[in-house]
């Protein structure tokens, strides 16, 4: 005989408007073993919690059922309530009559009937619940940050400043990310390098940060508190311990490769540093453009290097790190706009994308900060086209959030550095941010022309073949505009890094339909993921500006600290268990587990489960042909009993 208490929550009108909560409580009171059943407006409120605790004592309850919202919301709350009142926390059952009932029906009768069915099933199952004890594990105090842009830099510095050891992994040969490509930042027009390079240097100097550039994560094992991560150090062909950054090698090198850092606008040497303030200030050799690797002879760099730092025999190497938490901050790419043939990117030399223009403005860029085009001329008229591939169901539905503002910044810099007329072709100007509307006003007063209408076509001018024509409708007057210009700047959609699938696989992250990493909750857990101990920050989560990215990085650092500041942590007790007597050794469980928890014990000929890795999802139990796997808290008996209760309706 169990003594079950049922507590039905109204959730204001969220539940009560489509489920007759009084009737539901009355129904519960009539079920066998239910000794008390009540309904209340907000069960999660302090009076609601107190009511449960008092009834537990008064009626000597040994099982508690709360019919309310999703267990993702308040399971933790009510577990604490019953534990405080002296009951094992796993004797709680949550029946979700909000997300699964009231929010998905408008029919009161249907809603109430479904709620009764779910509750009936829960009572059947509750009778068979057993107390479980949580596991306590040791926590590794170190953190890994993946991605060395402004998000990763900020998160690493925050953590390191609290005394934690941080491994900062960056796939390029320098940290800095996209922000290091910019010349100025909106809306204050701060010099980007002036505010970023101190932080880059602080990373290099920080005793608690291990900087791993030219590195990529290749394998992730383990679980929250105890991740075991393998990092591939790509061969640099330069011994960085010996190199003293004299850069004589980069002067002599005859190899020419495309400069990714300058968005392909110029060539760079095969042995190179991407830009003068690169951190670390150490060159790498790009195999694909190195004369020695291509033709088998040259080695000029080796001859000029007094430090004997050049090492053509270097290979990729693998490094192992153990950490308690991970922050993923892998950033973004710009959408490839070549498939949008109407804009002529890649076809007409006068068409540029936003990052190329950032490099043109930058004094360390391919034109030393002068706005000259691919033909060497200064533009006389410039059109900036907003929303290219963004806010577009044919490509990316999201607003990329920063394009309006950087397009305004471009207009300012063009006006400052050239005598060109500047036109913005926009749909809406989104200037929601501190100082952003003021910046918009300032740019309007700088006599930049705003044409409200999406740019629809870029074509060579018929009258002046070396110029371009931008076509659009000025929707304010309804006039069709054909504007002759010299330069067209596209503001393309911000999209996830091209290797987002690999990162998502390694860290077991889910993504939205475009590949941005999914947060655990869009409002209340924007930096956590469904993989415990893995946090996200910056544009890899969704497009955002630098202030928001930095705020997220600080937040992710704090989230990571909540794990690594503890020496031990409690894990869910709802794990799977294999009964070796009935295991047939088929290893189905080993194959299906997404967390790598089951493994095959060759000696015994049976599978076993590493409980530290098990998340209790139950996949293994469902594929076990001999029913040897018991999913604790979801045993076959418990699930079948619940089904029986449901089937009575």
């Amino acid at each position: 005989m169990s003594r079950i208490g049922v507590f039905v929550c109204h959730c204001g009108l969220n539940i009560a408007k489509t489920v007759c909560v009084g009737e539901l409580a009355h129904f519960a009171a009539g079920l066998p073993d239910v000794v008390v059943a009540k309904d209340y407006r907000f069960m999660c409120s302090t009076p609601g919690q107190d009511m449960i605790a008092n009834d537990m004592r008064e009626h000597r309850l040994d099982r508690v059922i709360v019919t309310a919202c999703s267990p993702l919301m308040h399971e933790h709350t009510f577990r604490k309530v019953i534990e405080k009142a002296g009951l094992n926390q796993y004797m709680l059952t949550i029946v979700n009559i909000r997300e699964q009932v009231s929010w998905v029906t408008g029919d009161v009768e249907e809603g109430t009937t479904k709620a009764k069915a779910l509750l009936n099933g829960a009572v059947y199952r509750a009778r068979l619940l057993a107390p479980l004890s949580s596991r306590v594990i040791d926590v590794n105090p170190d953190v890994m940050v993946v991605g060395g842009g402004i998000a990763g830099i900020q998160a690493a510095l925050e953590l390191a400043n609290t005394g934690k050891n941080v491994y900062l992994v960056e796939k390029n040969s320098t940290i800095g990310g996209h922000m290091a490509q910019f010349d100025k930042t909106f809306p204050t027009l701060d010099c980007s390098a002036c505010i970023l390079t101190p932080k880059m240097d602080a990373v290099l100097q920080h005793p608690n940060i291990t900087l791993l550039t030219y590195c990529e994560v290749s394998e992730v094992k383990g679980y929250v508190g105890n991740f075991d991560i393998t990092v591939r150090q790509k061969a640099r062909y330069v011994n960085h311990d010996k190199c003293n950054a004299c850069l004589a090698c980069t002067e002599k090198c005859p190899g020419k490769g495309i400069s990714d850092w300058d968005e392909g606008l110029v060539k760079r040497k095969a042995i190179h540093i991407p830009f003068p303030q690169a951190v670390p200030q150490r060159p790498v050799i790009d195999r694909d453009s190195c004369t020695y690797f291509l033709k088998g002879k040259c080695r000029l760099c080796e001859k000029v290097c007094e430090q004997k730092a050049i090492d053509f025999e270097q290979h990729d190497s693998f490094l192992n790190f153990k950490v308690g938490a991970v922050i993923v901050a892998t950033g973004y790419d710009l959408m490839d706009t070549r498939p949008l043939v109407q804009y002529g990117y890649g076809k007409y030399p006068g068409v540029y994308h936003a990052l190329e223009v950032e490099r043109l403005f930058n004094s360390a860029g391919p034109t030393s900060g002068k706005v000259t085009m691919r033909d060497g001329k200064e533009p006389q008229a410039i059109a900036i086209l907003h929303c290219i591939g963004s806010r577009d169901k044919n490509h990316y539905e999201h607003c990329s959030r920063v394009c309006c503002m950087y397009s305004l910044k471009f207009a300012h810099l063009f006006r400052e550095k050239t005598s060109a007329d500047v036109y913005q072709f926009y749909i809406d100007i989104r200037a929601a941010g501190k100082g952003y509307e003021e910046f918009y006003n300032r740019i309007i007063e700088e006599d930049v022309k705003f044409i409200r209408g999406k740019g629809t076509r870029v074509a060579p001018s018929v009258d002046e073949p070396e110029r371009l024509v931008v076509e659009a409708e000025d929707t304010i007057t309804g006039k069709f505009v054909r504007l002759p210009v010299d330069m067209v700047v596209l503001s393309p959609a911000m999209v996830p890094r091209n290797d987002y699938k690999e990162i998502a696989r390694l860290f077991n992250l889910s993504t939205d339909k475009y590949g941005f990493f999914m947060e655990r909750h869009p409002k209340l857990a924007p930096l956590s993921t469904m993989s415990e101990g893995i946090f996200i920050a910056g544009v890899c989560q969704s497009p955002k500006d630098i202030p928001d990215t930095v705020a997220q990085a600080n937040g992710a650092a704090a989230e990571a600290l909540t794990i690594v500041s503890r020496q031990k942590m409690e894990l869910e007790a709802t794990t799977a268990l294999i009964n070796p007597a009935s295991c047939c050794g088929c290893q189905n469980c080993v194959r299906v587990c997404p967390y790598g928890a089951p493994f095959f014990n060759e000696q015994k000929g049976v599978s076993e489960i590493n409980e530290a890795l098990c998340k209790g999802c139950g996949l293994c139990a469902s594929v076990c042909p001999s029913s040897a796997i018991i999913a604790r808290h979801f045993t076959n008996e418990q699930v079948l009993a619940e089904m029986e209760g449901l089937m009575e309706f």
């Binding site: 043939v341 109407q342 929303c387 806010r391 577009d392 169901k393 044919n394 749909i427 409200r452 209408g453 999406k454 740019g455 629809t456 076509r457 074509a459 076509e471 659009a472 409708e473 000025d474 929707t475 309804g478 069709f480 054909r482």
Partner: protein, 392 residues
Amino acid sequence: MSQAITPYLEMSQAIMEAGGEALKKCYQCGTCSGTCPWTQITHFNIRKLVRYGQLGFDGIEDFMWGCSTCKFCVDRCPRGVEIIDIVTAIRNVYSGGGLLPQSLRAFVGSLSARGNPWSGDQTKRNDWAGQKYPLYAPEMEYLFWTCCTICYDPRNVRIAKATAALLNETGVSWGLPTVEVNCCGESVRKVGDLDLFARLKQKNLEYFQSQNITKMITVSPHCLATFNKEYGEDYTVMHFTQLLDRQIKEGKLKPKKDFGGVKVTYHDPCYLGRHGGVYDPPRDVLKAIHGLELLEMERSREQSMCCGGGGGGLWMEKLKGERLSDLRVEEALATGATVLATACPYCITMFEDSIRTLNVDDKIAVKDIAELLLESMEINIDEPVEDVCATD
């Protein structure tokens, strides 16, 4: 007089109920109007049409007839707005109120009375064939669906003959429809007369079902699009260029004659390209002809510019300077081509008009793909064409 204007949401509601539901999705970015070829040369503005529809503003009738349903805006629209459905719905709501323009009345009246838009005698629908080809019978593979325009319009009758002669060479079995069939109804549907469209369609469906017809070859891309989109799932419809392309690639049709370097540019009909997704077969047919140099215009394939003949445009009078077909002919001339090839009777009609009014018929000729291929096969079908139109 007050300049204030009040939204008339009942009208907006009526448009949505007539199939213009997509009104709600538009955010007025101007992609459609910036893409639409008409915006550059007429006062027609597709974005404004949608805007007036959203709020039910008076004055919508001033530009509701401008659209030629070329689908360029639909393909570019960032909100996925089915703009052609909106145009059709607006025309349906307003033409129901007696606002059909004069120039469209003859064509709609003819469709209603004779089942074809050309005031043609229905009993003479198959006269162009001169008893040379059989009517469709159930043991045949394909129905050769002859567009009304190729049956009645003297210029287009040549295309009917060319296509039929080529079909005979392909080795497939095919037959003509009975003279009692109606126009597929595409244009009248786009003009907004949904009831008349339903009547035309019903009679055709009865004929298809009575003969167990499931596979069809069309000459007009407009028929192709209509059968595919509006006639249900039971029919496999193919454009004749697709069949010819296939037969050439399988070695069943062999072009012989060498054209000696003649320069040809190909105009993608909107209903074959953007509506039908057929871009390569007509080009591949042209490429199979010896000594034919295929040149592309600046705007081709998905970016092709409309001739202006769709959406009822074929029957509407346009002033000089407001004709898309004139611009397109100029674009074709700019490539250096001496032949403007296409694969749609409406485009043929529009371009034939333009080359004459532009006085360039000595510089460039308008040819259907079928005519060019037939010539390359060295088959001669030249014979006098009898005018079977009652009013032409």
